[in-house]
């Protein structure tokens, strides 16, 4: 079983310090980077699959050169090797370019499954994994809550989250799967894993190495942020500390005033 997992370093949501810089791009120095949540759920699912079925998990990341650090954690969790596409020309890359670059890099690797997050905590576009599937012409099984490959039959089954519960999907491998938190909590790298990661290989590629026409012409990204402002502040609320019955009365008054009861 060969599983390639796309991981993106994002500002750590727990640090709660994400912000846009003066160039209206995400200020990636403002907080430490971690692997995007949904990508990590995918990585965990992949590691469990190869533990059960044999095989190997590899990581694919498009990021500045410092992206190597978050890749090390993925290697420490058990991935065997990494591919990093790092190129100054990709700073601030838009969604179509990201899709093209990741697809081109993935095409250099052999895999049965290509995993990506359903979306990222910084961009939240939710388009990249699907876009990569389109570029590669591979089936897309999205919003995965459970992944079950059948190696002998060369198919994969995925439970896809739906409004009412889940749908059970099936497609031939190789296939692209976008991952959700329902796949399960990622393991913390074991100390042995951290030390073993030292000797694992991260291959760095530039845009030129990928060949082809991956960048839009013109020197500027077509998609851009024109302006940013803070969210509208809410009017200050009221705090009450009272005995339960009195508190209940105040809440009910509040609701009644607003015709909510």
């Amino acid at each position: 079983m060969r599983i390639l997992v796309m991981t993106k370093p994002v500002p750590d949501p727990a640090a709660n310090a994400e912000r846009l810089g003066p160039d209206l791009r995400l200020d990636r120095a403002a907080s430490p980077s971690v692997v995007n949540g949904n990508d990590e759920y995918g990585l965990e699912a992949a590691l469990q699959l190869v533990e059960r079925l044999g095989g190997e998990v590899a990581i694919l990341t498009m990021a500045p050169a410092a992206g190597v650090e978050t890749m090390r954690k993925a290697l420490a969790m058990g991935a065997m090797r990494g591919v990093l596409v790092a190129d100054d020309a990709l700073a601030g890359a838009d969604i179509p370019t990201t899709i093209r670059v990741l697809a081109a890099a993935a095409a250099t690797q052999e895999f049965d499954l290509l995993l990506g997050g359903l979306d990222t905590s910084d961009g939240a576009g939710g388009a990249v994994t699907a876009g990569v599937a389109a570029r590669l012409g591979l089936p897309l099984l999205s919003a995965a809550a459970l992944i079950e490959p059948d190696e002998a039959g060369r198919t994969v089954r995925v439970r896809r989250l739906s409004a009412k519960g889940y749908d059970v999907l099936q497609a031939p491998m190789p296939a692209v799967i976008s991952c959700t938190q329902v796949l399960g909590t990622p393991r913390y790298p074991s100390l042995k894993g951290i030390m073993a990661a030292r000797s694992r290989q991260i291959t760095t590629l530039s845009v030129a190495d990928l060949g082809g026409d991956l960048l839009p012409g013109g020197g500027q990204w077509p998609s851009r942020v024109l302006g940013v402002q803070p969210p509208p502040s809410r009017a200050a609320g009221r705090t009450i500390t009272a005995a339960p019955a009195d508190a209940a009365r105040e809440i009910a008054d509040f609701l009644a005033e607003r015709r909510l009861i």
Binding site: A15, R72, L191, I194, M195, A197
Partner: protein, 391 residues
């Protein structure tokens, strides 16, 4: 608590050390910290913590890869002890004593001896203790009376030890015994001999009731006609004292790490309390006297930490003055832990004195770092002599 950790620049730690520190920190916060109060209250050896450290390869840190270890350096070991001790000094000591007991094997053991004993220690399956101290031999090792008499291909050991951490739960104790009573220099009289604790003649005479580190059993041992193969001796006869001194160069930083960890834990608890506790209409953290206390506590802890990390780098690099580095780090860290925990209790006021809050335990735990692995007075002697020799 997650982001209250020391603001440690990644400039001085490698990526790997950062990852490892983080992994142990999470383990400490999630699995060790919730047990700390009970471990102290019950005063029983925390077997579950021992399992936890074994499962998570924490014991493997100071051992070479060929023995099943992680092959990590001294600073990495110190990072782990510090993070564990932040949550529970007793649990931190599990790692510190394991590494302490193994050092004589690592520095003086033959390859065969290392292959025989180290893998079990690295996996945490076996525990080891370090048996130097005796009732009449604390700071002064020339008072050691335990005798190991050669009889054919065995030694017969008679005597006893006191204040040996974990000896009652250990599988092995490295016993320092007199094999060369006639040697001219007192420092050539001892040998280091590894004793398996299930041998007849090995007895745990008592376990001490201590001020702090109450989950860590501190044992008095009695050896009565205890026979061990000559093959259990580490290094040559008469080299025991040198082995012990060399051991301390690498083990004292571990105790310093425990001390820095205890201080950090107390500091964090005090800072959190200062943010919450309201008197005179506001959090006490807004009062300048509290701020002054906390600032001094933070500065002292940070300074002790960086001195310790520097000492680790120097010792690992084979600095000729390794003994001085180990001593100076342990000296500063131990005094810092005592001071910071005492001040932490002060920040808590009356609440700091009761076991509803952890700082009274931390203060009791801190004291031992000024006493064992060489008292602060011994450390001062080492530092002063080194300074004067260099002057």
């Amino acid at each position: 608590m997650t982001h209250n950790g020391p603001i440690l620049g990644s400039t001085r730690l490698t990526e790997e050390q950062l990852l490892l520190r983080e992994a142990v920190r999470v383990l400490a916060d999630e699995r060790v910290a919730p047990r700390a109060a009970a471990i102290d209250r019950e005063a029983e050896f925390p077997e579950d913590m021992r399992q936890l450290l074994a499962e998570h390869d924490v014991f493997a840190i100071p051992f070479a890869e060929r023995h099943g270890g992680l092959g990590a350096d001294l600073l990495t070991l110190v990072l782990a002890i510090e993070q564990l001790s932040r949550a529970c000094a007793t649990t931190g000591l599990l790692l510190a004593v394991q590494s302490l007991g193994a050092i004589p094997i690592q520095i003086a053991g033959t390859e065969e001896q290392q292959d025989r004993w180290l893998p079990g220690l690295a996996s945490g399956e076996k525990l080891i203790a370090f048996g130097l101290t005796e009732p009449d031999a604390g700071s002064d090792p020339s008072g050691i009376r335990t005798r190991a008499v050669r009889d054919g291909d065995e030694y017969v050991i008679d005597g006893g030890k006191r204040f040996i951490s974990h000896a009652s739960v250990a599988d092995y104790v490295v016993v320092f015994a007199v094999t060369n009573p006639e040697a001219e220099k007192p420092s050539r009289r001892l040998s280091a001999i590894l004793v398996e604790t299930d041998r007849p003649g090995f007895k745990v005479a008592r376990i001490e009731h201590k001020m702090g580190l109450r989950g860590s059993p501190t044992a008095e041992l009695a050896f009565d006609g205890l026979r061990v193969p000559v093959g259990n001796r580490l290094g040559e006869e008469g080299h025991g004292f040198a082995i012990a001194m060399q051991t301390f160069e690498r083990s004292r930083p571990g105790i310093a790490a425990q001390a820095v960890g205890i201080a950090q834990g107390a500091l964090e608890a005090a800072a959190a309390y200062a943010n919450q506790r309201k008197q005179f209409g506001r959090p006490i953290g807004e009062l300048q006297m509290i701020q002054a206390l906390l600032a001094d506590m933070d500065a002292a802890t940070e300074a002790a930490r960086h001195l310790l990390y520097t000492a680790c780098d120097e010792i690992e690099a084979g600095n000729t003055h390794a003994a001085r580095w180990a001593a100076i780090a342990k000296l500063v860290a131990g005094d810092t832990a005592m001071r910071v925990t005492t001040d932490a209790v002060q920040v808590f006021g009356g609440y700091g004195y009761i076991d509803e809050y952890p700082v009274e335990r931390m203060m009791r735990d801190a004291k031992i770092t000024q006493l064992y692995e060489g008292t602060q007075q011994i450390q001062r002697l080492i530092v002063a002599r080194s300074l004067l020799a260099r002057s």
